[in-house]
């Protein structure tokens, strides 16, 4: 296959950045998208030029490290697929592909396609956990959880923290990410004692970062490689509202 790549190159947070074009005529349709970039980088490196910086690790769609805009869509156009799982057979021979970093104020560009997503860690640190000490728990089967609730919590818990939701949102909101963790923990019996404080704290932390607010575009759920449902945002808003009441009266 012949592929023409327009790649965003930016040598650090303060560099202005520009597109550079690379043309390959030896692309196999069985390559993954990142393997295609590996081939480009391998050539650049052996010529002593700096390769395109992008993040990736597991290449199995689960670690959440990879992700950039492919023709304007985070992780590319194939539904429920991370960048590392996207294969070249999804593109036509002769295609021109534009690659850019996630564009969001909350995710400053580090270099080329690499962005800083540490804001997500800070949101989790604000309350995205159940406060138990190691060894202080009861027997695992002492807390029965109906399959339905367990499945719903699981669906929310599958979030890989890649940030595609933020990158796709016109407001660069992180509400799908935050809502997913809240739904995971708030749905389960173990998560009840801290439910409202957790919601309050995580929403406050989210607001303190450079993320916008949800205005129901729904782009986030479409691009989410794990298909996290918009329901998690509704659940978060409901629990947040309740939290205002519950926490005020306590």
């Amino acid at each position: 296959m012949k592929i023409t790549l327009n790649v965003w190159r930016q040598n650090g947070p303060n560099d202005k950045g520009r597109f550079e074009t690379y043309v390959r005529t030896d692309v196999s349709e069985h390559m993954s998208f990142l393997e295609m970039l590996d081939v480009v980088n391998d050539d650049l490196e052996s010529q002593g030029k700096e390769p395109i910086v992008f993040e990736h690790d597991c290449r199995e769609g689960i670690c959440g490290a990879c992700g950039f805009m492919i023709n304007g869509v985070p992780h590319g156009h194939r539904a429920r697929t991370t960048t590392c799982q996207l294969h070249m057979r999804e593109f036509k021979d002769g295609a021109e592909i534009t690659i850019e970093p996630f564009r969001a104020k909350g995710f400053p560009v580090v270099k080329d396609l690499m962005v800083d997503r540490s804001a997500f860690d800070r949101i989790i640190q604000a309350g995205g956990y159940i406060s138990i000490r190691t060894g202080s728990t009861v027997d695992a089967n002492a807390t029965p959880i109906g399959k339905e609730i367990a499945d719903q919590a699981f669906d929310a818990a599958t979030c890989i923290g890649c940030g595609a939701c933020v990158a796709s949102c016109p407001n660069a909101a992180a509400m799908l990410f935050t809502g997913a963790k809240l739904s995971h923990l708030n749905l389960m019996p173990q998560g009840q004692p801290e439910r409202y404080q957790r919601t309050q704290d995580m929403v406050t932390a989210m607001d303190a970062e450079d993320f916008g607010h949800c205005s129901n575009f729904g782009e986030c759920t479409v691009v989410c490689p794990k298909g996290i449902s918009l329901d998690v945002i509704a659940q978060m808003n409901r629990d947040h509202l309740r939290a205002q009441w519950k926490l005020r009266s306590s």
Partner: protein
Amino acid sequence: MQVQVADTPLQSNAPTGDIRTAWDRHRFDIKVVNPANKRKYTVIVVGSGLAGASAAATLAELGYNVLCFCFQDSPRRAHSIAAQGGINAAKNYQNDGDSIWRLFYDTVKGGDYRARESNVYRLAQVSVNIIDQAVGQGVPFAREYGGMLANRSFGGALVSRTFYARGQTGQQLLLGAYQALSRQIADGNVTMFPRTEMLDLVIQDGHARGIVTRNLMSGKLESYCADAVVLGSGGYSNVFYLSTNAMGCNVTAAWRAAKRGAYFANPCYTQIHPTCIPVGGSYQSKLTLMSESLRNDGRVWVPKDPKHCWDEGSGRLGADPTTLGTEQRDYYLERRYPTFGNLVPRDVASRAAKMACDEGKGVAFGGRGVYLDFAEAVGRLGKDGVAERYGNLFEMYQRITGDDPYSTPMRIYPAPHYTMGGLWVDYNLQSNVPGLFVIGEANFSDHGSNRLGASALMQGLADGYFVLPYTIGHYLAQVGARPKSTESSDFKAAEDAAEGRIKKLLGMSGTKSVDSFHRELGLKVWEHCGMARTREGLTELLGEIPKLRERFWSEVNVPGNDRGVNQSLERAGRVADFLEFAEVLALDALTREESCGGHFRVEHQTEGGEAKRNDEDFSFVSAWEYTGEDSQPVLHKEPLDFEYVKLTQRSYK
């Protein structure tokens, strides 16, 4: 091959007496740090996977100051996240006769009698606590309709003791540990250093006292001093270049510690996972594992007639498998192992696939692949029933290969996946260097020469949540809190060495990429030190590695500079370490004149082609001491005594 063997055998420091009460007695006998004094101690934890994150969180809960380091941008991305299948625990919730004793027995047997009994028994004991802990954290394990936890049986076990969270058990357990870690970061008890790579271990007065790191954002070298150093830096499967490990997994932290005196144990015990997606072409960057749980319902076969297989000339992978009738198929696992069938342990299944392909019956690129067929399962459970169990795995397979496994068999082939070898540790998980502790896949301790499915998550979390937090106290209480300063000649020397190496790498002006060397090394190691190993092959490999290393250090090109992000430089440092480490791997494989578990020496097999152990001469752990660049390592032996499990030839027939 002659190697220098140390006179004194290594001591495991395991308690003597009844194994069933050993851990309780040991916990009583070891010293405990006064709660009020814990905050005077600082512990460095390198790695934030299941072992590292659980250890860092638990140590911080206990009151220690913890500094935790990972090379990823967030601790949540450590490679434990990719584990699919499940986690074992001797809960006996299924009432099928499981017990701590049975899990212990299965693990020692599954490890082909090359693990330390005392460690394995403890692992089986604490396995039950791990499930309680994870559920308490909110890990959404699979449930039955009545609300109780579901279990499944997993490679090599005759009871259902595996807890799972769809095909994403590693992800959910890691997020549990990450959340516990996040809580401690928020409370100020853990200082987290993401995007930071350990480049050296610093030893002062014979004790591990700190590390030298490189900040992968700024490029700055920094030193950190502590009262103890814990390595949870994972395994070394990427020495094969193509493996199921994440691209960033590396041996650097462990190898740097080995070069500072920590013994590297059993490096030749590597696990080749039987069910991975086969190589598709020369550009391949990594291999993808399909959970072994697939073997519960999938049937493995190859065509009987090689003309239905891979055809080099036309590049055809094989005849359309759905057109081949039962009589044209060889269900070789069911045929050779009637009792266990498709559920034989990993090493057995992997070698059987290799044998089938060696006979010219492969059905994937290069003749390296066999079928894993779900037609029977779809008939029995319906498409929805199969989707409920394996839906996400089938999706993943289809994304990568373009084939639909509901209607056509999957193609699979073994790939390097896990390494049982690692830094040597005693019963306390302390290496031979006082103050250096090693946990999870980075140590060698519990799996012998073959790890059973769903036991990696168990061991990582056992070490981090329930073993290390006690045993490290014993060391700390004895040495007392010491001043923590990086202003010393030992730290300066380690920093200078790290800086010198970086300068040297950047100074090369060759014409070859870093990856090209990694690829070349991987191919050689896979060929001669992979699923089947021979004396000649290993001898050849030992001759070739130094030559390749020499070429690396003259022909590689590492662009960019040492300030700011430089991914080529990061990879170059890791590949340079693999190029050194590979030699001790090959040497270990060459000197272990027997076959056991994942280590298969062609010279040592039974008439039926199974691994043939030599208990008489090789019931020991090989721990290698680094003695310098141009000298051979010294072998330290830890004898393995089996008091409770009777040694037998493993049989899955």
